[in-house]
């Protein structure tokens, strides 16, 4: 054997070995897409307007408290309909100095228009920063929750650098409803002083004057019987200002209440603990409400001085308590979330797709292999070796690049099987033509490969170009298809031209003066 020929075989051997190394065992090395292994793909939108509104509400409340403390409660105070600012009318007797001080202290991030009414709008760059932070915090919170939930290989990304969208991909999740709830739970925990409680809203506000006090709000909660069934609704009048919130939490975990029912207990960080112990110490005998996402979970009476821990009771299952503890630990979302896109594939459908895709692929491959042997006889073996090698190398490349194999990807592979033989067909037809013109075997093979080459390169490259655009603009599974198609075509150029040629060369080196060729 020639040295040159030997090097060809060494190269082919090395490439094949590498491919097998990267693809074997396939169930470990080949990443299956969500559509094949089952799982959930979510695109969600962080409603950043919520965060902006919260900031505005906060500033509004501070202005009200400040002015009230200085003896000049504002005559009116209202949020703008767009939500990015508010207007207020100071009491007529407010000293200019007091007003200026409050504005200086509290409204640095707002642009003001002053007249009888003062309109404060959040500066656009500040609003933009708030929105950006909301998305980043949202991303972080969701990541924490998913991590704690324990999903292998999750993908959690912001879509676009400036966007308010987040993409979440969770392979192998078998309970999508639960995961969706877990991600979306705002989990905003507040502990607030209870002014009073009543079974209806009217009776709650009847005393003293049928009016909702400025510093309070009405929040509802469910009433449950001993077995956890909801039997009614209770209305609570709560102070607006919280004693502690979810931000003061250090930890939360599932535990049990005194009846052995699942509950969530939490501990506070040092800062929260200071606030909490001061408050509980001073208000023994009063009630405080544990409010989660604007719903009163429970409103226990403060029996004694509590320093740094508490318990949330209520109609929980073991799992419900666990999920709540998880989202509390992971932190609250800074803004609510809307699902824009959801794709869930159950594991059984994915499994079914794999089986059918493989079956279709094998049938297709068998037909092609059979035809090539029948039509090109000896040379058909060349083409088939090249074809099977093509499939192995393609899987190896998918494993090496950690590309994801999707259902359209399998279709792409099956299609490259069809197209990979094309190069060999081109070459073989050309060799036949040259033989017919009376060329020697040696010459015909050389010319066949040489002349078919430009057609092979041009035709494959045009298809690869369309695969590139497909990759650029495609989503999820389509990207997988584009990747397998592009890789497959590149590999087919190697196998059809180089590998198939090497087999011919090996044949020729054994029979140097060959006059016939089985083709």
């Amino acid at each position: 054997m020639h040295r040159k020929l030997m090097w060809r075989w060494v190269l082919i051997g090395v490439v094949t070995a590498a491919a097998v190394f990267f693809m074997w065992p396939p169930d470990k090395k080949i990443h299956l897409g969500l559509d094949l292994r089952g799982g959930i793909h979510l695109v969600l939108k962080v409603n950043t307007q919520d965060a902006v509104r919260a900031e505005v509400d906060d500033a509004m409340e501070r202005v009200r408290v400040d002015l009230t403390e200085k003896g000049a409660p504002p005559a009116s105070l209202q949020r703008l309909p767009e939500g990015n600012g508010f207007t207020f009318r100071p009491a007529p007797n407010t000293p200019a100095k007091t007003l200026d001080k409050v504005i200086d202290d509290r409204l640095g991030e707002f642009s003001l228009s002053r007249g009888v009414q003062i309109t404060a709008t959040l500066k656009p760059e500040v609003a933009r920063a708030i929105r950006d932070i909301a998305v980043r915090q949202g991303l972080e919170t969701i990541r924490n929750r998913i991590d704690q939930f324990g999903v292998a290989e999750p993908v959690i990304q912001r879509q676009g650098i400036e966007g308010d969208r987040i993409v979440v991909q969770l392979p192998g999740v078998d309970d999508p409803a639960r995961v969706k709830d877990l991600i979306r739970a705002t989990a905003f925990l507040e502990i607030k002083p209870v002014v009073r409680a009543a079974p209806t809203e009217e009776s709650l506000l009847a005393a003293p004057n049928n009016q909702l006090p400025e510093d309070s709000e009405v929040v509802t909660g469910d009433i449950e019987d001993l077995e956890g069934r909801i039997t009614g609704k209770e209305y609570y009048l709560l102070k607006k200002v919280s004693v502690v919130t979810g931000r003061d939490l250090r930890n939360a975990r599932r535990s049990q209440d005194q009846f052995g029912q699942p509950a969530v207990s939490f501990t506070l960080n040092p800062e929260g603990a200071t606030k909490f112990s001061a408050y509980t110490g001073a208000h023994i005998g009063d009630r405080m409400a544990i409010v989660l996402d604007n719903k009163v979970r429970s409103a226990p009476v403060i029996r004694g001085h509590i320093s740094d821990s508490g318990i949330i009771e209520g109609n929980f299952t073991v799992q419900g308590a666990e999920d709540l503890a998880l989202v509390l630990r992971a932190g609250a979302l800074p803004a609510s979330i809307t699902y824009l896109e959801e794709r869930t594939v159950g594991p059984s459908l994915g499994r079914d797709s794999v089986i059918r895709g493989l079956r279709a692929g094998l049938v297709g491959l068998a037909l092609v292999v059979g035809f090539m042997l029948f039509y090109y006889k000896g040379a058909g073996i060349n083409a088939n070796v090249a074809l099977i090698l093509n499939a192995v190398l393609l899987l190896g490349a998918i494993g090496m690049f950690k590309a994801t194999l999707t259902l359209p990807g399998i279709a792409g592979i099956i299609l490259t099987i069809g197209m990979a033989v094309d190069s060999n067909v081109l070459i073989f037809e050309r060799i036949r033509e040259e033989l017919e013109l009376g060329k020697t075997v040696r010459n015909a093979i050389d010319l066949g490969f040489q002349r078919a080459l430009s057609a092979i390169i041009d035709s494959n490259l045009t298809t690869i170009i369309s695969a590139l655009f497909l990759f650029q603009f495609g989503t999820g599974p389509i990207k997988g298809f584009a990747v397998t198609l592009a890789i497959g075509l590149t590999i087919s150029m190697f196998t059809a031209v180089f590998v198939s040629r090497s087999i011919f060369e090996a044949l020729l080196s054994r029979r140097a003066k060959a006059t016939t060729l089985s083709i």
Binding site: P176, K180, E341, L415, I417, M419, S454, A455
Partner: protein, 387 residues
Amino acid sequence: MRFFHNTHIQFMKYRWHWIAISTALNLIALGLIFFGPGFKYGVDFAGGSQLTVKFKSDPDAARLRRSLENLNLGAVTIQRFDEPERHELLIRLQSAGQEGDFSARMITALDKEFNAQTASTRLNLQGVQAVRDELVQADPDSVGGTVEDRRAHYEPMASGLLKLRKEMGILNGPADLDRVKELSSNAKRYLADNARFGEFSILAADSVGPAVGKDLRTKASYAVGFSLLGMLVYIWVRFKFQYGVGAIVALVHDTLIALGVLSLTGREIDIPTIAALLTLVGYSVNDTVIIFDRIRERIKLERGKPLIDVMNSAINQTLSRTVITSGLTELVVIALFLFGGDVINTFSFVLLFGIVVGTYSSIYIASPITLGVSNWLEKRKQSRRRR
């Protein structure tokens, strides 16, 4: 053995006939698209929610429809998915321009309608952890201890059960519990008595809001537009401008006919369909380029021969390759169409006739158009010279 050996078919002779037929086909396709049935967009582009549901037995369609229409979220369409004996349905809800998580509400509505019995353990709708925790709470084996101890005990049982569901698609009833060897007899009895199997399981759920739907539409048209442009430029550079035009006209021809067939058959257009169209485009251009390559080669060898004759012999010389490759790819696509399952059925359907159309257009459209443009350019050059 050789097919199409040494043929001398006058492909170019009747080029006007073929161009006329193709123009007519394209006009019909445009008519179907704009004045006929138009396109049926899938959830990807139209927005809305779609559930793939497996029922134990075929449900009452009217009841199914009513339960979902009562949600007042939009129009409901129900169609069969896959073979009838699998009792699988595709249920679509076309929500009118709203964002939101409608698939969850659809599942709840179906649950209420078809599963009269309420239960906290719903074996066909919950995951491993939920089933495990239900067993942990009930503790049929009286393991006692901490929640963690009980979890360790019941976890394999729940996994075994869910593995069976994964294989079967739906658990039919208590009899299926016997097939889960991990289940202890007490757990089996507990689940048979207390857990609910229900009438259906969810195989897939897709929800696409209008914002994302719009995005996807834009992206899809960019993908198609740019890949056509990219190929035009490539062929222009590697061959000549007129070849690029010929190839692109052939591709637009193929795409239009494919879209017309999709419109006619009422198949849904979604992302995989777009992928199929692009594959078809790639495939067809592949064919065209190989014929062009041969024309390029022949022009160099036979200087002075009229382009029309060169084209004719080039098409004849590549004919055997064209037929063999198309035939083989068609074989593979037929396998895909017959055995690939419903998920990729539209994909293989597009390629099934697309390959035939693509092969036809490479021969009868791409070269004649190139010839026409070539002659036109030539005439213009001459008249300029005269002036």
